[in-house]
Symmetry: C2
Amino acid sequence: MAAALSSTEAYSLLALSLACFGILSNTFSRADGEPLVASIAFSGLAFASCYALIRWLGGAFMRRGFKGRDLCKLRQTEIPETMGAVCAVVYLFTLIMFIPWPFYKDIVVATSGGGNRDVIKELEEVETGRLLHRFPHNKLASYLSAILSLQCIALLGIGDDLFDIRWRHKLFIPAIAAIPMLIVYFVDFGVTQMVVPIPLRPYLGELFDLGWLYYVYMAMLSMFSTNSINILAGINGIEVAQSLVIAVLIVVNDVLYLSPFTPYPHPATDSHLFSLYLLLPFIGVSLALLKHNWYPARVFVGDTYCYFAGMVFAVDGILGHFSKTLILLLLPQGFNFVYSAPQLFHLVPCPRHRLPHFNARTGLLECSRVEFKRPLARPIAESVKLLHRLRLLDVESDENGQVVSCSNFTIINLWLVWFGPMREDRLALGLLAFQSAFGVLGLLIRHRMALLIFTADNW
Amino acid sequence: MAAALSSTEAYSLLALSLACFGILSNTFSRADGEPLVASIAFSGLAFASCYALIRWLGGAFMRRGFKGRDLCKLRQTEIPETMGAVCAVVYLFTLIMFIPWPFYKDIVVATSGGGNRDVIKELEEVETGRLLHRFPHNKLASYLSAILSLQCIALLGIGDDLFDIRWRHKLFIPAIAAIPMLIVYFVDFGVTQMVVPIPLRPYLGELFDLGWLYYVYMAMLSMFSTNSINILAGINGIEVAQSLVIAVLIVVNDVLYLSPFTPYPHPATDSHLFSLYLLLPFIGVSLALLKHNWYPARVFVGDTYCYFAGMVFAVDGILGHFSKTLILLLLPQGFNFVYSAPQLFHLVPCPRHRLPHFNARTGLLECSRVEFKRPLARPIAESVKLLHRLRLLDVESDENGQVVSCSNFTIINLWLVWFGPMREDRLALGLLAFQSAFGVLGLLIRHRMALLIFTADNW
């Protein structure tokens, strides 16, 4: 990877940045500051700076030992690793710089003179209109706690990439990083009640107070969201691209709540604006990273990125109050986790790497296999054979009917079992198409079917 | 350094932790939650965990390349570097876990049942007494922004220790890390007026609005506070111990405002409580680090610690509204900076290291010197000779009166010029005694003299 930007790249990024600065300075001259427009402009700036920084810092990362070899390539040159850390830092600074737009109600007065608080009163008239992009000032603590949790996960993620923390400790990193958000939720908001689905109401009532279990639920959600992304990994671009698909789907869901057709004021408007403000810059930095991480990858993203992306979704879903929708969108990752479980919990032997196997002769990826040196226990062997009949696994048996090998338990290998060997980028595209289709379907069901089990869709 | 704790250490730390947990759980049973008592207990826990973690993680840090040699020792074995990062992470988690105590007014109700918000009303009666330890809930955003800025400096400091950022970029790291705090200050508080000293009032009025210059002032304060601590470094324990002296002096100043003799309610009570809540855990983690970093050092603290300590003071001074007192306490560091300036700005040649020179024969430190290969320019040579006459430098001249060498421009070397060679720990103790005396004097002057130039001491 060249450390310098090509002149085309440099000029494009410069033009994008200038345009974004222009839009930003324009928001000042509008009476309401236009946070949503500003957020889009900030996302553009985040893309540009992340793109350039990844290029400039690659060398420094490699010199400090953040590097790895791409096992699915013919020429396994070393490329920079842990570039997700760059993303995370750019993203966090974007979120911080953005604070004045949604939260400072009298920004126009303040920037013109600084501290002339007496002029504010005149502005109140301006703000009586449809305040779509405005935040109540008391959401500031929520927003700051989100940034805190994301900074924690960035710190801990970098720590993991540095010191290679063990699997069983890794699992809990997101729960630790969720603490700031949970504590501020507890202090500032503290609602732990859930709306109960109609079929369960005779037993639980209309609202069920989860109490401290609600906090456990939120911590579990962070662990699920980060680790499930971390597990669906291993081929170029898949970590970033799957996160982008989820982010875009959530944005679509948010926009549904904010469109001019939705009645206003709507109780969920603020929450979904909040969600957009977190996700748009995330899409910006992720696109910049994907550009370098897509096949053939010139950088790796590191665990930091997976943690960070998962945490963005968890924070977004929790503080935006759509955690159930989030779980729906994470179902493909959830399926991959459940599917992987036999190997993760060592019911079936688990090799060090479960990447697809690179066939140097064809240049294609084939599903990787685990060989059983000792015969499997009877119930496990039978289950494995059952999976084979369900076309959920490729199993090889010897003449005695003894299982000798099977494909590794990941959705990536399963895809190769189904559709045969293919090039790395086609494999990634296939999985992403599957995930997108699944997500769109999920959103449709969520909004069409919600009324069947809840009395009101919070549409 | 042994990676495991000795059994004495392990039992002492365990006893301390249990005592602190006991105190913490006790705060629940008191109606007002006792945040100040909780803060002290948290500081004890922070000490214990930091102490243990430094020991346990030393090996991992060295394996990952965070290590260095102690140049002032006979046997220069390699020891872990960047241990300030451990401090910073423990400190940040302590601050986060502490949030519910000062900010949740009805914590007793909340912890007993979770979400039973209707019970709160009864408690209001309890809270009509002297609410010394309580915070107004709207200070939460300030507190969170302080944590954000400190997390930023930890991230950037670790980045610096990893990638060895250049001097001229390093200088600005604290200003970048101050951004979250400044932005929240702008959004949430926005007061940029200063009380004008009496002699200047005819020209400026009673209050002078600094406007955006106030933000520049705060950013400069962060840069001054961090970098001045970073410059006064190089011998075992000096970075941590000088920070501890400053922290303790600020705590003394805070306690003056909170003592039973001070009229209550006092406008500055909240600010100084805020300051205590930030400083007590800092003292906890710093003591744990000092125990390992004091002569003969078994770990180094790294730039991370200096950045982090300086930023704790800056955040504390700015959000506690006593920035001028802070500057007073940093005067010894400020003097060292001014004194170093001729070498920092290359008016006089500056060697790579300006550490004192270790005399292997005596085992004592002697002042290190810079040799002038080319004769100095006339005005500089004359100034250097003047400093020599003022006993502020040790200059050596040849028979022609040409300056050939002089002691390096740091307060550490100056101390050795004044008092002759001495062992490393006596040197550190001498400097600390000087700093403490200076600080106590400063506080006395600040509270006795303030009325001469301001109409009211904010005592």
